[in-house]
Amino acid sequence: MSSSSGTATRRPSQMFRNLNAKIASIPMILTALCVFLGGTVWTIVYSFTNSKLLPRLKFVGLDQYERLWSAPRWLTSIENLFVYGILSLIFSLVIGFLLAAMLDQKIRFEGVFRTIFLYPFALSFVVTGLTWQWILNPDFGVQHLVRSAGWESFTFNPLYDQQIVIYGILIAALWQGTGLIMCLMLAGLRGIDEDIWKAARVDGIPMWKTYLFIVIPMMRPVFITTLVIIASGIVRLYDLVVAQTSGGPGGASEVPAKYVYDYMFLAQNLGQGFAASTMMLLSVAIIVVPWAYLEFGGRKRG
């Protein structure tokens, strides 16, 4: 920031270059500053107050944060987000890439398969959640189907078991989101020059090695875009949980975004909700800032 403004004062012509474009982007800049930045600062400031139903500026220091980190429900939420986040990152990438690699083998009816895999993405999380709630319901869904086929002792009811409920949510999320990841990966694969494959074949490198050591490193930008999309999906996980379990059984599938909503609007305790959302922002910042520094800082140097 300081270096660019320094440049501007030394060479004023820089500031007026592409003047029209700069004027045109003023509304968006203002929106970003007022709405996003302003809203964020406002939320952080009020997280240090004891605001209840309505915001009020009565500061109580770190009280809200102390209460937050001693609330068992918040700790469960963080743990769930952690498990869900890591697994959904790994499985989305692996399954998405494998599907894309398979579609890339110049198979027949590629368009049909692509559509089928991408189709769940057209559904909202709420619809996805309700559908999977039915599929995983022990009385009508998979368990019922297998039991009525003769395997009487078969048990598969992830949404009713506290230990594994988060995996039930993960299944639905993967079903919904992997199609998009596959498409992104497929686009990345199509961007690899055909000559690379020919050269690898001439050198007698097996296909899996070509993928692992040549193609994937070349797809780095695609992977980074994908990573950002998946990561943002993880942090805002909310509607899927509400539709599938509404946090149950017994609060075992609570997630941070739901904690924020519940305390802001159900419990009429804005301060607590703001403290929780500030913690969410902080966790995103811890991941995104070093990455952005490496990614964009590195490019400038190079």
Partner: protein, 410 residues
């Protein structure tokens, strides 16, 4: 903001222009189960008889889903004509912020102070000597509803108190019944526990914990006994896998479950199903141990509006809701007790008569909504929904967390 309000106003005016003449008043509430819908239709009928139009704003999903919608509409500048809240502290801050209409004049003109009983109901509506809401019914939580059929099938007599009920649990289970039905919504688990407190530990302990927020009592031996009873309830309800309270009531109605601890609004469901108190089902106020009832219920609040026609209609609605005829017809359908002591309730069934008797004797406690903020209630909900679904959470550990919540309550 102003122009947006205007836009909203004109849009709604357009939408309902076909009913010009009568004033439309939108009323939001969360009464959506069979018995509740029948009761609210009585309000609508009475209000429309005054020449106005009742626009029904039912919000499905229970109070916890509806209240955020109501609050955000009021604070966001598009208030409805009238809205339900539970009698108590739910709308406290909205009143303090000056968003609600003051009905002191009407209250004095119609002598609400003299007709509404118990006095705590109107006190719940009063802030700084001014009346801000209309209590419409008295609901009590302290009821155990038992299915006579379930006990017959299990071959044991219908219990007369909580201990007998717990003792009958194994027999019910052997007959393939769920002994105790509790829905998955968190407020039901908290409600069950809050009913166990006065039944097991008595009224004084209840008041010490919730009125004085005495953390020592909450951590003490009396509440430990309550947690032991809650542990029994947890074991007996382990197999009930329904969500909504009326689904749980339905398990009792159909004889699939032995009983349910639920407020007297459950009575509306038994009535819609055509069941008769005493023959098909049994009700035990105070779980048959300590016969007392809480005097919670529902109140209607009226947000301040700019439109003079609607403001006038609000007044009409308020006095319609309290009129003797409406009080009787509404409360009979709802399963609740009228807030007026001067109306004829001879049409009431056995269970409601039991409630009226206890009320007349004065064995009453305030409702938790009148004592606790929503924040405290929500923390209790988090604790009890976890407790009832997690067998690994011991009563001792849960009590420690319970005492901490009570200590921080305001």
């Amino acid at each position: 903001m102003k122009s947006f309000k205007l836009f909203l106003a004109s849009a709604s005016a357009l939408a309902f222009s076909s009913m010009a003449g009568a004033t439309d008043l939108e009323v939001t509430h969360w009464w959506t189960s069979g018995g509740e819908a029948a009761a609210v239709a009585e309000f609508a009928k009475a209000f429309e008889a005054t020449g106005n139009k009742w626009i029904d704003g039912a919000i499905a999903g229970g109070g916890s889903t509806a209240r955020p919608v109501m609050v955000s509409r009021i604070t966001g500048g598009s208030p409805m004509g009238a809205t339900q809240f539970n009698t108590g502290r739910q709308a406290e801050e909205l009143v303090e912020a000056g968003l609600m209409r003051d009905f002191t004049d009407l209250a004095e003109k119609e002598h609400w102070k003299d007709v509404i009983r118990p006095a705590s109901l109107l006190e719940g509506c009063t802030v700084d000597g001014k009346v801000y809401c209309v209590p419409v019914n008295i609901h009590s939580w302290q009821w155990l509803w038992l299915s006579n059929k379930a006990f017959e099938d299990a071959g044991v007599p219908v219990p007369t108190n909580w201990d007998e009920f717990v003792a009958a649990g194994p027999a019910l289970e052997k007959a393939g019944k769920i002994p105790l039905a509790i829905g998955g919504q968190s407020w039901q688990t908290t409600g069950t526990f809050n009913v166990l407190i006065p039944a097991i530990a008595g009224k004084d302990v209840f008041l010490k914990v919730y009125q004085d927020h005495d953390a020592e009592v909450a951590a003490g031996p009396e509440i430990a006994k309550v947690f032991k009873a809650a542990d029994d309830a947890r074991r007996m309800s382990a197999k009930s896998n329904v969500q909504d309270w009326n689904q749980a009531t339905n398990l009792v109605i159909t004889g699939q479950a032995g009983g349910q601890i639920m407020g007297d609004w459950a009575q509306g469901e038994f009535q819609v199903a055509g069941q008769v108190a005493g023959e098909d089902y049994t009700c035990l106020p105070g779980l048959g141990v300590n016969e007392l009832i809480s005097t919670g219920g529902d109140s209607f609040y009226f947000p301040k509006l700019d439109d003079p026609d609607k403001t006038a209609a609000q007044e009409v609605l308020a006095s319609t809701m309290l009129s003797p005829a409406t009080q009787v017809s509404f409360n009979l359908k709802k399963g609740s007790v009228p807030v007026r002591g001067d109306v004829d309730v001879s049409a009431a069934n056995d269970c409601m008569k039991k409630g009226l008797e206890i009320l007349a004797k004065g064995d009453i406690i305030p409702d938790t909504n009148q004592l606790n903020t929503e924040d405290t209630n929500n923390q209790l909900n988090d604790l009890f929904v976890e407790f009832f679904k997690t067998p690994a959470l011991t009563p001792e550990e849960a009590q420690k967390r319970y005492a901490a919540i009570i200590a921080s309550a305001d």
